[in-house]
Amino acid sequence: MAANKEAFLYTKEHEWIEVKGETVVRIGITDYAVDQLGDIVFVDLPETDSEFIAEEEFATVESVKSTSEIYAPVSGSIQSVNSRLEDEPEVLNESPFEDGWLVEIESPEPFSQEGLLSYEEYQNYLSELED
């Protein structure tokens, strides 16, 4: 099933956020981010139940050429991680919006869209970057 990217929210750090429930979001990085990184060879994900505050580094994605830190777009605890990436980091290259999701975070409060970009806003942001 194709992901509904239009319904996702985005950050300027090229993360996407899919709202899964009132307090649960799934997080990944966008095709733009993946493209910039090149071949991804290692994904370092946090432990389940570990807690992060918004803007704290919670994961790293390593490509052959560089390392990229991923920052938590919302505060909360890690409910689940995509353990498939441990052995198959290349899935992130192939399917950044679906099979390559990183973690699901459960927030103590209902999810707020404040400070996040809509799909359209993110696309506009990307075209600004291209200029």
């Binding site: 090149g38 290692f42 390593e62 052959v64 050429k65 390392t67």
Partner: protein, 366 residues
């Protein structure tokens, strides 16, 4: 950004093909054409073509050229025969490395020297500073481009476009003036920087685009265009030092792992000899070693290395995930007390400490 960067003869080709370019020592060059991993595997299994036109070409001529160079180079230049190449370091008085480079003996009285791109001007100035009567030194880096065809199929592929006898051409030897793909005046050397069999082709700047196309065509799909990313992972697997990482003016060639090219006992004195001899006699305080991560992650250049008690014992000089071996590998400049193979070490990567162990170089051998 690209406006200020120097362009190789293939710049137009890159732009036409919309290849992303990066600043590499002041040059606009591709990190990758499609994928570092694919390009890396192509060189290990078939063949890969690199644009290394940014490398320097300095010509040295004079009746005393052999002896004069011998006073500036760490290796013994009197041992090189015409049409043979030799790997060398150039050092300052303290033994610090100014560059590592290859010299090609063109004639009894003439050499081609090929410094790293970022060191070409420095080495040229160094040669001029030490120039003697009867020696001419010419920096012709702007006139010559360089392509490298590397990988097990290289010989077969170049054979299709040249009549030169490649089977007779041994490693670190060259044909000074041959015709490749109808292009005259190619210096064809059996050298490279990937740990595979391969060739480097020095030719006039303007001839490079034609040669590039001709080699791709001769490959019939078996020649992959490769960027700097694969060049780095390939050389690292082969355990080869890279200037600015394993070697610098603060690191001697003995420490940086290229002691095989340093003849401290050679009869003729050379710049840096006293310092290097002393270092060898007293024993090195730090050496370059290969490591492999035991824990997960990738340790990159600049990461601190500690021992069991948490004391700093070295620094990572290069690190990557080896595409061929599937392991995280790298080189570390480490205190000699900890240099033994299999010594457990710990590498600080951001907020984590990853266990690693020292292993034999090279990581990969064909």
């Amino acid at each position: 950004m690209e406006g200020n960067l120097k362009q190789t003869p293939l710049y137009k080709h890159y732009k036409d093909d919309k290849i992303k370019l990066m600043n590499f020592g002041g040059w606009a060059l591709p990190v990758q054409f499609t994928s570092i991993l694919d390009e890396h595997h192509a060189v290990r299994n078939e063949a890969g073509l690199f644009d290394t036109s940014h490398m320097g070409e300095i010509f040295v001529k004079g009746e005393q050229a052999v002896e004069w160079l011998n006073g500036l180079m760490t290796n013994n230049t009197t041992k090189v025969k015409v049409n043979q190449a030799q790997y060398n370091a150039v050092c300052n008085e303290n033994g610090g490395t100014l560059d590592d480079l290859i010299i090609f003996k063109l004639a009894e009285d003439e050499f081609l020297i090929t410094p790293n791109a970022s060191n070409t001007e420095k080495i040229y100035q160094w040669l001029i500073e030490h120039q003697e009567n009867g020696i001419t030194v010419e920096n012709r880096s702007d006139e010559y481009g360089l392509l490298a065809l590397q990988g097990p199929l290289s010989e077969e592929i170049i054979s299709k476009v040249t009549d030169a006898d490649l089977t007779a051409l041994k490693s670190y030897h060259f044909i000074p003036n041959t015709t490749v793909a109808g292009q005259e005046g190619v210096l064809l050397a059996r050298t490279g920087y990937t740990g595979e069999d391969g060739f480097e082709l020095y030719t006039k700047w303007d001839h490079i685009p034609h040669l590039w196309e001709a080699l791709l065509e001769a490959g019939e799909g078996k020649v992959t265009r490769c960027g700097l990313g694969a060049r780095d992972t390939l050389r690292l697997e082969a355990g080869l030092a890279l200037y600015g990482h394993e070697l610098s003016e603060e690191i001697t060639p003995l420490e940086g792992g290229i002691g095989f090219a340093v003849k401290t006992k050679k009869a003729q004195p050379f710049i840096g000899q006293d310092a290097l001899r002393k270092q060898r006699e007293e024993g090195l305080k730090r050496v370059s070693r290969g490591f492999e991560l035991v824990g997960k992650g990738i340790a990159r250049e600049g990461a601190s290395v500690v021992n069991e008690s948490g004391e700093t014992i070295g620094t990572v000089t290069s690190g990557t995930k080896s595409p061929t071996l599937g392991k995280s590998i790298g080189l570390v400049l480490i205190d000699t007390d900890f240099k033994e193979i299999d010594t457990p070490i710990w590498i600080q990567v951001r907020n984590r400490t990853i266990e690693a162990k020292l292993v034999q170089k090279p990581f990969y051998k064909k």
